[in-house]
Symmetry: C2
Subunit: 513 residues, 2 copies
């Protein structure tokens, strides 16, 4: 008779070993983006490719299939949301997807990713899109091949890529939600443009020494709950978060002496990602119960801390004294709050205000679908990018460095990734409203610098579940309803009603930030 | 018929892949020592152990034996110092050694190394040897097992460990050379103690801001020839150098605002190591022609730049203006030179002057032999350490943090490593004298900041050979004679004759620094 417990432990040990190699590979990539010597890139590409191939071999090992077969019909494995059942169910799904990807393609993508990022970085610095174009062409071709291998029946190539980041998402459904949100945002923007109040940008563009920003970033990340015994904060050109082990989460931000919000909100954002990773069940690191549910859920955690908490009036009531201490100037909390909520259509996604941010995503979402389907060529991409920016956001990039070259994603092979940012915004607002309802005086807590109740609520309602529930199920269980754009729109209206002459939301009591 | 070229290429490709995994493992260790979150240690230990096991599997793969067998009798493989011949010869040697080590022991050592360093670090900070003792006991036991597996006929367990760092070295021969050197050093020290001249230590212990030290370190490393496109300089508690790829060499130093020589000579030392790695044939990275010859040769490169160049009167003639620029004080070159050559018996090896440094090594060399043979127990180690320091160097450590806990080596499993430091000092002086003879006015070049001729001489006479020649052969070929203590003693006498009343060497023309 099969000893199911033993078979499951063998599966679990194999996946643990796989995570040891996978996270070594992630360290290679973190290091590459934080300070690897420039001439080290070729060897690093070879190295990341080899380790990626090794991980692929481990994830597609025939032993896995045999273990899964032996576990089928076992009652523990049939409880879909238990640790064991979810592991068996999701490992099966991942295994079947991985098996469809030829190892040579996995290695080619890993290698192209390292080289592509190098080309992108150089091209952006030189403001020369043509330097990057061949690497982009190669990456699109590789991603298209991957999408074709991964696509289930009824899935488009693009959806198969999207599925890697947001399981079961449908491109046409996203398009509908985004179109709806776009309508609401355009109306909101019109009200803001018509407002008699103006927000001064002086405070944002003043010189704030990088040393002060660095210490402020660390203090804020620590205050909201990022654990520095289990993580660290570094500097890079494009902020990100990567988790290198159950107690080793790396977040990265950037410092610009003449753009203070870049480091503050970059840090709060990445710390939000990091706190999610730190809240996942440690014992299950590298297995589904210890893994994030989807990138939309991941992004909801970063956006919640960055925007719902970090851009609230109460947050700046709490931290205005720290700003004075750090930079030596006495500025009223209301002025910081207004400045950090200034709305102005601009070119750079990562510096965009919340009213226009999702419009940046919509442009990328449309363009990347066209790149993958082949409707749009990379020859035409910069021109089309600039045209869309003008039409959708009302600004035209004066250079490709501020246009199509601004994001690392495509150079790193991340097609289908952008829409998860807007999903994250939607989910963040909905979770925040539910937490507020559950905890009572959340605004008061923030004003007093008490972030732990909110973090605990997120730990219990989101983090503790890992991947055992889908993004939809997590949202439904935590908030009592399915995903809706209403909480985000309500939250923006409430916040902007303090800054501009916009109507507050119809039912202001459900959100507050 | 065997196609030898193809077989050799298969061997070479396999070793290249092995180097990809091995250097990923080295990055994990570099990262652990530069800033990994403290709670990440357990997972990192598991990870390093797993990758070390993987590397061990690759290095002991039966395919290697089959390739080597097929290559035997091939004329290229019989040219012992050609790229191919040296590769076949040394891979065979390594393979046979590796095969004797059980994989479980390799993994246990890798894991104990990560944990041991953590214990050592905590114990040193707490000045509590007993916290570290269990980890040290475990490591000694593991190293003893390894030595027993590795020992050839006629080799002691300790010599088998030493052989890993200094191939073919004999403990009793080293003991004789060291005893000889010790006699010369004791006489030199007596002359210095009896000198009417005194060197003030004020300059060394003044406050020099860490930021200034950091920029100075980078400038000096760059000036002598460390290539920052192919390497970087970081900060750690115990300086070291690690090579992560053919164009990715990491050197690390430490900064103490009240101990300027720590960063300057730490940096010159590690840059010397780094320049050796950067000078090895890149195409053969991870294979014998692209690997250092021995740790004694490696150390000769660091000591040469640290001491023969970096502590010379001419070096400070060259850099006194930079010191003024960096720290804002006008101090004569002669005063820097005298201060950096101040002799005073002290407790900490890495801060020791050159006259006493090798006495620190002799203490460790004797104690580690006794620990491995079992003559000395870890219970008695701190007391015996303190007693030896008093007898040999004339100082008694007031605490274990400044005594037996000062070095990371034993916690990292490095038994048989210390004697290579003194070998390095001996070889450095002999190489420098030969370079001086060959290049003509080496002192004048240093005074003018021209370091390239010396680096080129080292590239040609040492670096270019990789491991194709033994340490002894490299010394013999580069200097025209076998290893002798005379050049080191002559060099020290010459330098100290400028600072203290000691007799210059009999034939001063053969050395100059």
């Amino acid at each position: 008779m099969t000893n199911h417990g033993e078979v499951f432990n063998a599966l679990r040990a194999h996946l643990r070993k796989t995570s040891l190699v996978a996270s070594a590979s992630e360290l290679l990539e973190w290091d590459e983006r934080t300070g690897m010597p420039v001439d080290g890139r070729e060897f690093r590409a070879e190295q990341v490719a080899y380790l990626s191939g090794l991980v692929h071999d481990m994830r597609t090992s025939p032993e896995i299939e045999s273990w899964l077969d032996q576990l089928s019909g076992w009652s523990d494995a049939d409880a879909p949301h238990g640790d064991v059942g979810a592991t068996v169910r999701l490992v099966r799904k991942d295994y079947e997807k991985q098996k469809r990807l030829p190892k040579a393609l996995v290695e080619a993508i890993a290698s192209a990713t390292v080289r592509g990022q190098g080309r992108w970085d150089a091209a952006r610095k030189a403001d020369d899109y043509r330097q990057f174009q061949p690497a982009l062409d190669e990456m699109i071709s590789l991603q298209r091949q991957a999408g074709e291998c991964l696509a289930d029946d009824g899935q488009t190539t693009y959806e198969a890529l999207l599925d890697q980041y947001e399981p079961d998402a449908k491109a046409d459904e996203l398009s509908r939600v985004f179109a709806n949100l776009r309508g609401e945002l355009v109306q909101l923007l019109d009200e803001i443009k018509g407002s008699t109040r103006q927000v001064d940008e002086t405070l944002l563009k003043k010189q704030y020494p990088v040393d002060g920003q660095r210490s402020l970033s660390r203090t804020l990340a620590e205050a909201i709950g990022f654990d520095f015994n289990r993580g660290r904060l570094d500097e890079t050109s494009h902020p990100f978060c990567t988790n290198l082990g159950p107690s080793d989460c790396r977040i990265l931000t950037r410092y610009d002496s003449s753009w203070l919000p870049g480091s503050i909100f970059g840090t709060l954002h990445e710390a939000g990602h990091g706190m999610y990773e730190q809240g996942l069940p440690q014992d299950w690191y590298g297995l589904p119960p210890g893994t994030y549910a989807s990138l939309g859920i991941h992004e909801s955690q970063s956006r919640l801390w960055e925007n719902l908490v970090g851009r609230s009036a109460e947050f700046w009531q709490c931290f205005a004294p720290l700003m004075q201490e750090t930079f030596g100037e006495n500025i009223a909390a209301e002025k910081w709050h207004a400045s950090f909520n200034r709305v102005t259509p601009s070119l750079i996604r990562v510096e965009a205000d919340e009213a226009t941010y999702n419009l940046h995503i919509i442009v990328r979402f449309e363009l990347e679908q066209a790149l993958i389907s082949g409707e749009l060529s990379t020859d035409d991409l910069p021109a089309v990018w600039n045209e869309r920016y003008e039409n959708v956001i009302g600004v035209r990039p004066p250079s490709d460095a501020d246009g199509v070259l601004q994001d690392v994603h495509w150079s790193a092979g991340l097609f289908g990734y952008f829409p998860t940012y807007t999903l994250g915004n939607l989910i963040a607002a909905q979770l925040y409203a539910a937490a507020d309802k559950s905890l009572g005086d959340l605004n008061g807590m923030i004003a007093r610098g008490e972030f732990e109740p909110l973090l605990t609520w997120l730990r219990e309602n989101v983090h503790a579940h890992g991947r055992k529930y889908s993004a939809d199920e997590i949202v439904q269980n935590a908030t009592g309803r399915s995903l809706s754009a209403e909480p985000l729109v309500a939250s923006l209206r409430e916040r902007y009603s303090l800054v501009y002459d916009v109507s507050p939301p119809a039912s202001a009591s459900t959100t507050s930030s």
